[in-house]
């Protein structure tokens, strides 16, 4: 009986491959109503599988207990406050989950005839219109599956536009506060990245752009509000500088949650912007996707949008593939429709007034958080923020306590930590985005906890260094994981 442990409700759970018994089954199939074929009669045996390695054999109960237990070791937005900066971990309305499961949506084949898909195409057409209105752009493609995918589509459109004019520009300007995806996207789109330093106020200054901008530059990729949570107040002027030399302004719209109904990116000179529907438009993050990353453009870039595009001819909706200048397809079919549907439902639920209030409350929450934590944690850019704010561990350093320790201690208090060590321009960054769906009581509890942790750092720093303790696993050895990668179960101890 030595391996019986009193772990309470934090149960031990083996890997699925370590469960089950030969001969168990957790499935049932439609009844056999045709003769069972012998595979070797139809397919040469050299092409057939001979052996299986490892596959599990479980009953349905085994499967349900296993995954229920795994879910209990996870923390989601529904579990509590999740201030992961730049990820906009807002509440995902339940009704949207339910409607996405209706068979009239979830059971629809992408190649079914268009006359049977009119409602679905109408939904997509209208969603494109909503997103164009919110961003102040002219056209939208819903095809990209995630933000980085939308970025790639956007940069490819810019490349295609320039190439069609015989221009082979080589460089893309990217501020030092950018998401890593901006850098890798520009290089996958075959551009060389040139970093722009943000100024002492944490934003991109027009001078810095002007000094790098020339006819070799295809575009600048900016994020607005940027990853410090600050509004890029010179964007319009920057856009003019870039446009004057024939370049484009790409905006990473990951942080659109601060701007809805307040300002339109299109009015600031932005030519292309992608939107993360799983951030601003409430579709759930799924433990790392699926998301959706629609990309919106100004008129001039429209011919280059991915195919197909949804069109309305009279009262009929159709998918048009006949677009010779299109960059092509970013993925099979038309986009993550199951996600698009939820974003559409969200926008309709909120309406214009609701979306504006979303942005107002998101900004209110972030400023409240910033104001109340100032003094307890170091605030590198002490000025009004938008939807998120960035603190650092400078005050705690002298107690030999780091951002990582503070983050881990938050787990012991039942919170998800903020985004840490990003943006890179701030040493020991803690980037906090409360979102509008967090109540004042929730925020106050988090703030009081953060203040308590600051006190603990001073009085009992070991508590932070040893955190988290009230979890299933303690800090994990990431060096070991990378040095001797074990990326699958092999049956060996």
């Amino acid at each position: 009986m030595r391996n019986i442990k009193d772990t309470g409700l934090i149960q031990e759970e083996p890997l699925i491959f370590e469960l089950g018994r030969q001969g168990r089954r957790g499935y049932s199939l439609p009844r056999w109503d045709v003769k069972e074929a012998e595979p070797t009669d139809l397919i040469p045996s050299t092409l057939l599988r001979e052996e299986w390695e490892g596959f599990p054999e479980l009953s349905e109960v085994d499967v349900v207990r296993h995954f229920t237990r795994l879910s209990q070791w996870n923390y989601g937005v529904d579990s509590g406050f999740y201030p992961l900066g730049s990820c906009t971990m807002k509440y995902s309305p339940k009704v949207n989950e339910e409607v996405a499961r209706w068979s009239g949506f979830a059971g629809v084949h992408p190649y079914q005839p268009e006359d049977l898909s009119q409602g679905i195409l109408r939904l997509m057409y209208e969603l494109e219109g909503f997103l164009a209105e919110i961003t102040g752009m002219d056209h939208v493609s819903l095809q990209p599956a995630a933000g980085a995918h939308g970025e790639l589509a956007g940069m490819m459109m810019i490349r295609a536009y320039l190439q069609a004019r015989g221009e082979r520009r080589k460089k893309v300007l990217v501020p030092d506060t950018a998401h890593g995806t901006n850098c890798s996207t520009s290089s996958i789109a075959s551009y060389q990245m040139v970093e722009i330093k943000s100024n002492e106020k944490g934003v991109v200054g027009p001078e810095a752009v002007a000094s790098e901008m020339d006819e070799e530059v295809a575009a600048i990729m900016v994020t607005n509000p940027n990853t410090l949570g600050l509004f890029e107040e010179h964007l319009k002027e920057i856009a003019e500088i870039v446009h004057r030399k024939g370049g484009f302004v790409y905006c990473d719209g990951a942080n659109l949650n601060a701007l809805m109904g307040i300002v339109k990116l299109g009015d600031l000179g932005v030519d292309v912007v992608h939107l993360n529907l799983h951030k601003t438009f409430s579709t759930p993050h799924g433990g790392g996707g699926p998301g959706a990353g629609p990309v919106a453009v100004k008129k001039g870039l429209a011919p280059y949008l991915p195919i197909p595009v949804v069109e309305k001819v009279g009262e009929t909706y159709r998918l048009n593939e006949d677009r010779p200048q299109s960059i092509g397809k970013m993925k099979a079919f038309y986009g993550n429709f199951g996600v698009l549907l939820k974003a559409y439902a969200y926008i309709l639920s909120m309406g214009s007034e609701g979306l504006r209030r979303v942005s107002e409350m998101a900004v209110l929450n972030a400023n409240y958080l910033m104001k109340r934590l100032k003094g307890h944690y170091f605030l590198p850019y002490d000025r009004p923020c938008m939807h998120e704010c960035v603190f650092t561990d400078r005050f705690q350093e002298r107690f030999d306590v780091s951002t990582l320790d503070i983050a881990k201690r938050l787990i012991d208090y039942g919170f998800h930590p903020p985004t840490i060590y990003f943006p890179l321009v701030v040493k020991g960054a803690m980037m906090m985005e409360p979102t509008e769906t967090e109540s004042k009581q929730g925020l106050d509890r988090f703030i009081e906890t953060m203040i308590e942790i600051a006190r603990e750092a001073e009085e009992n720093p070991e508590l932070l260094r040893q955190a988290p303790q009230k979890v299933k696993v303690r800090r994990l050895d990431e060096v070991l994981a990378a040095r001797k990668p074990k990326l699958k179960w092999t049956g060996e101890k």
């Binding site: 759970e13 890997l15 089954r25 957790g26 499935y27 397919i43 040469p44 057939l48 599988r49 390695e53 596959f55 349905e60 499967v63 995954f67 795994l70 070791w73 989601g76 937005v77 995902s92 084949h109 992408p110 049977l116 898909s117 209105e133 599956a145 995630a146 980085a148 890593g180 290089s187 009015d267 799983h278 799924g286 433990g287 996707g289 699926p290 397809k329 993925k331 099979a332 079919f333 986009g335 199951g338 309709l348 639920s349 309406g351 007034e353 609701g354 504006r356 979303v358 900004v363 209110l364 409240y368 009004p384 787990i411 769906t437 004042k440 299933k472 696993v473 994990l476 990431e478 990378a482």
Partner: protein, 449 residues
């Protein structure tokens, strides 16, 4: 009127208290930083707000009818056990994000580790990533990875690869950086034309891309192709759109694949008008550091207890930035979880049985169709759950006639292959009953008269 407030907890009073703490008077003051002339002067032009019941009523009106269907071609109607939706509806899974904080994300991390293991077993490969957007984009990333490994420019792409996947590969490969040569399919067999492939294969080729079962449902003979590619120092990339086939087919890893990239929609993921789906990406251990996407690895915690973390992140955009192997960040985590639960329920016996049932039903439909005058199955090579029918009449008319009878009889191939303008791609899965197949055949026969 304020129906949107159901997701916004602040009361007016709390709002005012918070403004006071911040030290401003009005909510507008928080947006001072936005130059006045840039701020919107009128509300956005959007419909709504809708209450929950009104929203439901509106969406009900947008649903599609579901007909008896013989459509496949990269999106398959398979049975999805109720367990999957029950488990993925647990909001601890679906409202979490990328597991950056492993101590409170062990559920997601262990599930991905199990997913990686299952994908290796399914495809016969050594390592799997945590998922890509879909089969098409996974294939495109495989082509880019082969170029990074071999430092060669040219890729040979079989014409029997799903036409949409080919289009995505074309989008991803910048013509200045690489060249794509199309390998024709053999018009009698429906397989990649091996002779034509050998003519194109030289020491400049980074990779050969073949799909099996291919777009026509035909099972390719991958082994001889892989041998030839390796002789020239290139890599063998195997794609697929119907993962269920690997319940009986030899996995690509057993016939010389270097990278396997395909679609996992068949593994418990709904059709949903084309997405979200699941890009499966597996390869050999020696290439692990060149892979795109997230990886979960096993490690130990402070107490020596087993746990899981995201690992080898030095390949990724948030660390490596412009030198990353891919720009992918958010992938298809929840779809990977669906596939994991699906395969856990089916196990080895279930996966084999469902594959045999697909094979048997499609074989039955093919036989029935071969007895109809005015149409015949073409392509002599073995097929899995899809096959191509040639008909004497214009298939578009035939499809319309069957649609009127409530049947989606197949996919018109002229849409993708101008030379196949009298051809239909027909898909039969375990969900098509014998009765339904018989009705399809009878209606088809009448339409062809």
């Amino acid at each position: 009127m304020k129906d949107f407030l159901r997701y916004l907890p602040h009361t007016e009073e709390e709002g005012l208290q918070m403004l006071e703490t911040i030290g401003v008077k009005r909510i507008e003051d928080l947006f001072e930083i936005v130059p006045k002339e840039q701020r919107l002067s009128k509300p956005l032009d959007l419909p709504g707000p809708l209450s929950e019941p009104d929203l439901i009523r509106h969406l009900q009106g947008l649903r599609s009818p579901i007909l008896s269907s013989f459509l496949g071609a990269g999106a398959y109607h398979h049975f999805i056990p109720a367990v999957i939706s029950a488990m993925t509806s647990r909001s601890e899974f679906y409202t979490a994000y990328t597991p950056y904080q492993p101590e409170i994300s062990q559920g997601t991390l262990q599930a991905i580790f199990e997913y990686q293991t299952l994908m290796c077993q399914l495809t016969g490969m050594e390592v799997s990533n945590a998922s890509m957007y879909d089969g098409a984009s996974a294939l495109a990333e495989a082509v880019l990875m082969a170029r990074r490994i071999t430092k060669r420019r040219k890729v040979l792409l079989s014409g029997a690869v799903h036409p949409e996947y080919r289009r995505v590969v074309q989008t991803y490969v910048d013509p200045d950086q690489g060249e794509i040569a199309l390998v024709p399919y053999n018009e009698d067999e429906g397989r990649t034309d091996e002779k034509a492939l050998l003519d194109l294969l030289d020491g400049e080729v980074s990779a050969v891309v073949v799909q099996s079962p291919n777009f026509f449902g035909v099972v390719e003979d991958l082994h001889p192709i892989a041998q030839k590619v390796h002789e020239k120092g290139g890599l063998m990339i195997v794609g697929f759109s119907e993962a269920i086939a690997y319940g009986i087919l030899k996995p690509p890893g057993a016939v010389g694949a270097d990278i396997v990239a395909g679609e996992g929609q068949s593994l418990g993921i709904p059709l949903s008008f084309g997405g979200p789906y699941l890009g499966i990406f597996t390869t050999l251990e020696k290439f692990v550091r060149m892979m795109p996407g997230r990886l979960v690895g096993e490690t130990l915690d402070l107490n020596g207890k087993r746990g899981f973390v995201l690992t080898l992140a030095a390949r990724e955009q948030h660390i490596r930035r412009e030198r990353a192997t891919s720009n992918i960040c958010t992938n298809e985590g929840l779809c990977a979880l669906m596939a994991t639960i699906f395969l856990s329920c089916l196990g080895r016996e279930g996966l084999r049985e469902v594959a045999v049932m697909n094979l048997s039903k499609a074989a039955y439909a093919k036989k029935v169709a071969s007895e109809i005058s005015g149409c015949r199955p073409v392509f002599s090579s073995p097929t899995f759950n899809e096959f191509v029918l040639r008909m004497d009449r214009d298939p578009r008319e035939v499809l319309d006639r069957l649609k009127e009878k409530g049947i989606l009889a197949g996919l018109f191939l002229g849409r993708f292959y101008p030379e196949l303008d009298h051809h239909l791609l027909v898909t039969v899965t375990e969900m098509n009953t014998k009765e339904e197949i018989d009705r399809w055949a009878e209606t088809l026969e009448r339409a062809l008269r």
